[in-house]
């Protein structure tokens, strides 16, 4: 079996094992797995309303996945997507309601503000790594909570002690009556176009520009890149900043599309951490991220139908997602298994 086939087989096998283990968990807990998975399926594809909301759920997952994948490709682990996304959310909401501008300026400006907020927050981690050798995993974890508490305090301040900001103006909204009608009043919005555009942007940066080549080179081998005359520190900071930009835009999808405001959060949204799963499943390629986000976004939204239709707690899907991450991360053992299997076949 060639490496290419194995690379594609590992995530697929992981998904299948994840779903099987999920079924076993349901069975052991006294639930009916067939009914459970049927409820999940209807929750995702049941009618145009469900499909619309599923796509809406996929949108921020694509951007969070891109953020993690971009950092991975450049040799960095951005576990701080969550914090960058929260700040992007806040920035987009603020620009959305604080200014009154024509739509052609207002909407791009709000998106830009979100991207800038996310980029800035990730820049801090990149700067700390380049200048002080602080490991980016620890720095971004610490920055996640810092972002959460700062965003909550700012929202409280902006709303005079309330728990959410004012609604954004129509001129900054990603919502569309057309998509709404098309999908039977779901909350599908134009954000999916922004997300898919960013998929192309990531592909373009990494594959078609000199800068992207440098970023990847630093990720592959820092010393070789430095020897070839590339500035490692500059590329680390740039990689984190671009990664944070994707994360910030993920927040904008929630602010300008789904919710229309920013509210105080008792804890993390979870999108940032699921982004790690998305990137991992998609092997850190732009197209892979779209597939990973589609899978996890669908599972997450479809799960909401499970308590009503099958009486199964929706957390079963989070269990399945966590298991899939385990299996993909343990890809080494699946690879070994596959290679043994193919050797046996050759021997026969």
């Amino acid at each position: 079996m060639s490496n290419r086939v194995i690379n594609i087989l590992v995530p697929i096998i992981s998904i299948i094992i994840g779903l099987i283990v999920g079924a076993i968990v349901m069975l052991v807990s006294g639930y009916d797995p067939v009914q459970g998975y049927m409820a999940l399926w209807t929750g995702i594809f049941g009618d145009s309303y469900s499909i619309g909301n599923t796509i809406r759920q996929i949108t921020p997952y694509i951007l969070a996945g891109l953020a993690v994948a971009f950092a991975f490709r450049t040799g960095l682990f951005n576990i701080g997507v969550e914090g960058q996304l929260i700040l992007g959310w806040l920035a987009a909401a603020w620009v959305g309601y604080a200014f009154e501008l024509p739509k052609v300026i207002h909407l791009p400006l709000a998106l830009l503000a979100a991207a800038a907020a996310g980029a800035f927050w990730a820049f801090i981690a990149g700067f700390l790594k380049a200048k002080f050798k602080v490991h980016e995993v620890i720095a971004t974890i610490m920055l996640n909570y810092t972002a959460l508490y700062i965003a909550n305090a700012v929202i409280s301040k902006l709303s005079d002690g309330g728990f959410k900001t004012e609604r954004i103006h129509e001129s900054a909204s990603l919502r569309s009556p057309f998509l709404r009608e098309l999908t039977d009043n779901s909350s599908l919005h134009y954000g999916i176009i922004v997300a898919l555009l960013m998929v192309v942007v990531m592909w373009f940066i990494l594959e078609k520009t000199t800068r992207g080549y440098e970023l990847k080179a630093v990720g592959f081998n820092k010393n070789a890149a430095e020897y070839a005359g590339m500035s490692v520190n500059k590329n680390i900071i740039l990689a984190m900043t671009i990664s944070g930009m994707f994360a910030g835009l993920g927040g904008a999808m929630e602010a300008l599309g789904t919710f229309g405001n920013a509210s105080i959060k008792p804890g993390f949204t979870g999108i940032g951490f699921d982004g790690i799963a998305v990137a991992l499943l998609g092997a850190n390629t732009p197209l892979g991220v779209v597939f990973g986000a589609s899978l996890f976004g669908s599972l997450k939204y479809g799960a909401l139908n499970m308590p009503n239709a099958a009486g199964i707690p929706e957390e079963i899907v989070s269990i399945i997602i966590a298991l899939i991450i385990f299996f993909v991360a343990s890809g080494y053992i699946i690879r070994v298994g596959l290679q043994k299997l193919s050797k046996k076949k050759e021997g026969q």
């Binding site: 807990s29 602080v134 620890i138 508490y149 700062i150 951490f273």
Partner: protein, 319 residues
């Protein structure tokens, strides 16, 4: 409120909040000293908190006042078993340790909330009837100043936490086991050459971290929140990681850092009732532990260096 009354309120409360952090942070010290990064402490605490509350609710009538200890023991076992997932993935299957830790966090929360909904048919449990209570230590509490400060409102778990910290220091720095543990985390190949079983040491260390993380969760749930829901453990595990780093991967350092973070937490929660402190916006106190940890890592407050081999799987025969 006089200054003394203020201290008599802040210090015992800070120790209360610090106790779960101490257990969990020392768990983290064990794991990282052996060379395995454990981002999953949050998930392990969640599992411990759930198991602790579950056992407490179900067996309070059987065990009476001993319930809290039975619940903590159950949480220790559950945390230890749960951490085996992280151990198998990151040691035997050579998974990225950070990714595996993230999966532990997701799985711990999902499994716990799933079980709560399955068992109790609602998103959170009832309040427990047997909680960890404070008591005064005879004679010691009558000492002027120090008595009311440290010995009048004591939790037995806090005493245990200090004992665990000192015990961990002794094990890691004064026993052959500890020497091997540190060797495996600094230079696994050298340790292997000297006959130390690298992977076995790492398995033991990860399970210890799981057991202590579970204990931390059970202590937090039984002394502070008194029930279990999805939001019971919200960042305590990550704060424990911060305490471990701020304490420079040393048990006594972690103890000190956890106590300091306990003060910050107390002030951010109860600060509005305390003169002078109420002038400071709570957000500064909330972010203080995390910001200080970043400063410590950047070398502004002494240099914090991780064990050398931390984060890398050990592959025999690879140079």
């Amino acid at each position: 409120m006089s200054f003394l009354e203020m201290l008599y309120f802040i210090i015992p409360s800070a120790i209360l909040y610090a106790t779960p952090l101490i257990f969990t942070a020392i768990g983290g010290v064990f794991s990282e000293r052996s060379g395995v990064v454990n981002i999953g402490l949050e998930g392990l605490m969640i599992v411990g908190a759930f198991v602790g509350i579950y056992v407490n609710l179900e067996y309070a009538s059987t065990f009476g006042e001993a319930t809290i200890w039975v619940a903590m023991l159950a949480a220790v076992i559950a945390g230890g078993i749960f951490s085996l997932l992280h151990a198998v993935a990151s040691i035997s299957f050579r998974a990225d340790q950070t990714v595996s830790g993230v999966a532990i966090n997701l799985l711990g929360l999902a499994v716990s909330v799933f079980l709560v909904k399955m068992i109790y048919d609602k998103g959170q449990t009832d309040m427990i009837t047997q909680s960890i209570d404070r008591f005064g230590i005879p004679y010691l509490q009558d000492i002027p100043f120090l008595g009311p400060l440290l010995f009048r409102d004591v939790y037995s778990t806090s005493i245990l936490a200090f004992a665990v910290a000192i015990g961990a220091w002794f094990i890691i720095y004064k026993t052959p086991f500890g020497l091997r543990l540190r060797a495996v985390g600094e230079h696994p190949m050298a340790a292997d050459t000297m006959g130390v079983k690298v992977n076995r040491m790492r398995y033991i260390a990860v399970v210890i971290s799981g057991a202590l993380g579970g204990l931390g969760g059970a202590v937090y749930a039984q002394s502070i929140t008194l029930n279990f829901s999805h939001a019971t453990i919200a960042g305590q595990g990550f704060m424990a990681i911060a305490a471990m780093i701020f304490g420079k991967w040393h048990p006594i350092g972690a103890l000190g850092a956890a106590l300091f973070f306990g003060v910050a937490q107390t002030l951010s929660i109860a600060g509005s009732g305390i003169p002078y402190i109420q002038e400071i916006p709570a957000v500064y106190l909330q972010i203080l532990p995390y910001v200080l940890t970043i400063f410590a890592l950047a070398g502004f407050i002494g240099k914090a260096n991780a064990p050398k081999a931390s984060g890398q799987p050990y592959i025999k025969g690879k140079r």
